[in-house]
Symmetry: C2
Subunit: 300 residues, 2 copies
């Protein structure tokens, strides 16, 4: 256990497959952590509350609490369903008031955002996003999701960004695979998620050898997605996380293809000369989400 700053926050990364809860104030100062598989909402909310109640019993009241949650979620504080998970296909979890359940259970307000906005915030504060004002965090795993910070603040809007579902060029002569997205078939997520790799090649991504053409194609799609995010936001940095991005051979391929697709149009030294520092791996690893939740708690 690292030294205490005397001011602790609670952070919850609410994921579709697991929940991570932690108490602390920074990556160097995490007092406690718990992980459990995401069960039904009632049990999961109960486990979350129990963990923090125990912590509070030991160290006293927390200075704040944040929840970075899988979605889609309702982020509009004026909406009657603020804090709900809305239309998820995950059984039992549609229209669940997760924020209200946790907040009422703990008797304290809880800051709330998407898992990817949380990770973006965590990376910005303590990880690979330090020193810039705007960034994109994109996670490539079972799904593809993205969060954006503009002037250091997570971007919301009508709902929240769903960057995995951008439409990108798909040359069926090169790649006849139809895509796996149940909504859009061959959107970015449909073509480039870990699941798409597995279905296209008949093997899990981590089992494909380095020289397999899968990586070139994967980099092609991810680079198209990043070009679109660069054109949409002009972010100062792009951070890539998630299971598929553990295959670090992807980074040089993606960078090269982004530069090639931009074709000199975005005239910045960050792209011309420093692309290695522009498109970077996540720095906080599996703790990005829960640290992001702590950062959320600490910025409200």
């Amino acid at each position: 256990m690292a030294k205490s700053t005397g001011r602790f926050f609670g952070g919850i990364e609410g994921g579709g497959t697991k929940f991570i809860c932690a108490v602390g104030s920074s990556p160097d100062d995490l007092r406690a952590e718990a992980r459990f598989a995401t069960a039904g909402p009632e049990r999961t909310i109960q486990e979350t509350i129990a963990f923090f109640q125990e912590q509070i019993g030991q160290i006293g009241p927390l200075a704040g609490m944040g929840l970075a949650c899988f979605g889609p979620i309702d982020l509009n504080p004026e909406s009657p369903t603020y804090g709900f998970i809305t239309s998820t296909p995950k059984p039992g979890w549609a229209n669940v008031d997760i924020l209200g359940g946790i907040s009422r259970g703990l008797g304290m307000p809880v800051a709330f955002d998407t898992d990817v906005n949380g990770a973006a915030l965590g990376e910005w504060r303590w990880g690979a996003g330090q020193g810039v004002n705007s960034l994109i965090y994109l996670t490539v795993g079972t799904g593809i999701g993205g969060g954006a910070l503009v002037e250091g603040r997570p971007v919301h809007g009508l709902v929240h960004p769903e960057m995995g579902h951008m439409l990108i060029p798909h040359d069926r002569d090169v790649d006849p695979f139809p895509g796996v997205c149940p909504f859009h078939a061959d959107c970015l997520e449909g073509l480039a998620t870990g699941l798409a790799m597995e279905k296209r090649w008949g093997k899990r991504a981590e089992e494909l050898p380095l020289e397999h053409p899968a990586w070139e194609l994967e980099a092609e799609y991810l680079a198209a997605g990043l070009v679109n995010l660069i054109m949409a936001y002009s972010p100062e940095r792009i951070i890539l996380g998630g299971g598929v991005m553990q295959q670090v051979q992807l980074f040089p391929l993606i960078r090269e293809k982004v530069v090639s697709k931009l074709a000199g149009y975005v005239d910045s030294p960050a792209i011309r000369k420093e692309i290695d520092q522009y498109i970077v791996p996540a720095g906080l690893g599996k703790l990005a989400g829960v640290l992001g939740a702590i950062a959320l708690a600490d910025t409200r």
Copy 2:
């Protein structure tokens, strides 16, 4: 001349083909306006300064000045080339210190942003963007450009958004036209700009009859671009302006295709039920840019 509020701003829309200068405080209160063709930078800057000096001579000092400028431009106040037009192919205009030239000539600070961010700001304050916190303004004309407001502020970043150059699906069996973008061939701008329509069909857009298949295809590409902007930003409203969007038959086609491409994934009444109020024509017409420049002057 409308009644005076006693507090006037100067606004400049610096366009690649023409400059529009105005003095006033709102669309209902424009005291003076001038338009002139964009010549070389020296002469154009001189004409701009002369107009405002004359105005200042008549009404006294202005409360502020804003310039919404064609690009790419350098928006980073810490950069040695802040306020420059950077890598434009427009002859004579690359590496021109337009902001410095105007600001020094008038002896006053000038707020500075892209023409499309300016238009987004003008529409937000007085036009079709009133009442929301985040919006996209996309202009479809000779080129395609976009500006974004998040929480009422224009989005910058590494450089500034270049939404026209997003990469979108292009089915060459349906449309073998290769695209006109000199950088990316068949990016959104390459496929859907007015110039692309003219080259593809051999006629200027405004000469193509309503029943011509050009409109369906144009709506297809613009809808793909808007889907990507919705996925990237989740804006609360999308405003479409520019010469091509004067063809109002495009609006219902675009709306229908956006809803169809989203395929129910973004679960919001704005898209399910109120798409007519979600994707809307610009409200300020040809004054959006110069009013945006006045809004820029009035928010610093």
